[in-house]
């Protein structure tokens, strides 16, 4: 199973400008598997990104918008993208500001298909 997860995350981390990719449990906020290219605390990113994704999902649900397809957070020095499916797992990518979000989105949705 870990090898399958590693394959999924490797494909994401190969994208230009991607600093880290993580597979996170939405409920627990714990890292299932990660591929980190930077000296950041993966556990911390995972916990906060999972919390953010869960809040976004609940907000979309409350506003009767349906399921969250793709979540993107733009910050001063980078961005966080996340997708989640029917399972408890969320795929999170941390990227540089100049990264191609379109490509990252395509790869994230492809990874989600693999996962499910």
């Amino acid at each position: 199973m870990t090898t399958r997860f590693a394959t999924i995350l490797d494909a994401l981390t190969r994208q230009r400008g991607v600093r880290a990719s993580l597979l996170v449990s939405e409920r627990d906020g714990l890292v299932v598997h990660s591929n980190l290219r930077f000296g950041q605390d993966g556990d911390r990113v995972a916990a906060l990104a999972a919390s953010m994704y869960r809040k976004a999902r609940l907000s979309a649900d409350a506003a009767r918008l349906g399921a969250v397809a793709f979540l993107q957070l733009d910050a001063e020095r980078g961005r966080i993208c996340a997708v989640g499916g029917r399972s408890d797992l969320v795929i999170v990518v941390v990227a540089e500001p100049a990264a191609n979000v379109g490509m990252i989105r395509v790869e994230l949705l492809k990874a989600l298909e693999w996962l499910e």
Partner: protein, 156 residues
């Protein structure tokens, strides 16, 4: 959330921890079961019971860790259907404490663990050194100390 502490230096780090981790209840206690701080509890009897059970669970987990891994387990997580508990040790210049955190769907184990790490660092930095080394906790003093701490917290 109202926080009551026996030792005032505990309050600011504990308040930050509760706010950031979105915890529902928290209890800081000595490994002997004596309460140091509590947040979210409304009755002294609940604090007393939770302290006794947390101290016992921590002692059990520590010993199990020693048996299985040669050193005490640091953290214990219990996932209930509605609420979850996280029990872990905090080391300071004043000695080791145990922290019990109770959280629900507003938070997660990952968040609690993340901010618990910060709580440990902040408590270690805030703890004034012990002026006089505390003697061993004796059965004859235990109830008196416990009642004094509960009275300080609940104003009785």
């Amino acid at each position: 959330m109202i926080i009551a502490t026996v030792e005032p230096w505990v309050e600011p780090p504990l308040k930050r921890y509760l706010d950031e981790a979105r915890a529902r209840l928290a209890l800081l206690l000595h490994p002997s079961g004596q309460v140091v701080a509590q947040a979210g509890f409304t009755r002294a009897v609940d604090v007393m019971t939770a302290c006794a059970l947390a101290a016992a669970a921590h002692a059990t987990a520590s010993e199990l860790g020693r048996q299985l891994d040669g050193r005490p387990f640091r953290g214990l997580h219990y996932a209930g259907p509605e609420r979850e508990g996280y029990l872990s040790a905090v080391d300071t210049a004043r000695g080791s404490y145990i922290c019990l955190t109770v959280f629900d769907h507003e938070s997660s184990l990952g968040l609690v663990r993340t901010f618990f790490g910060e709580l440990c660092r902040e408590l270690a930095a805030a703890a004034p050194p012990l002026a006089v080394l505390r003697g061993p906790m004796l059965d004859v003093n235990f109830e008196e100390d416990l009642n004094r701490n509960l009275a300080a917290m609940f104003g009785r």
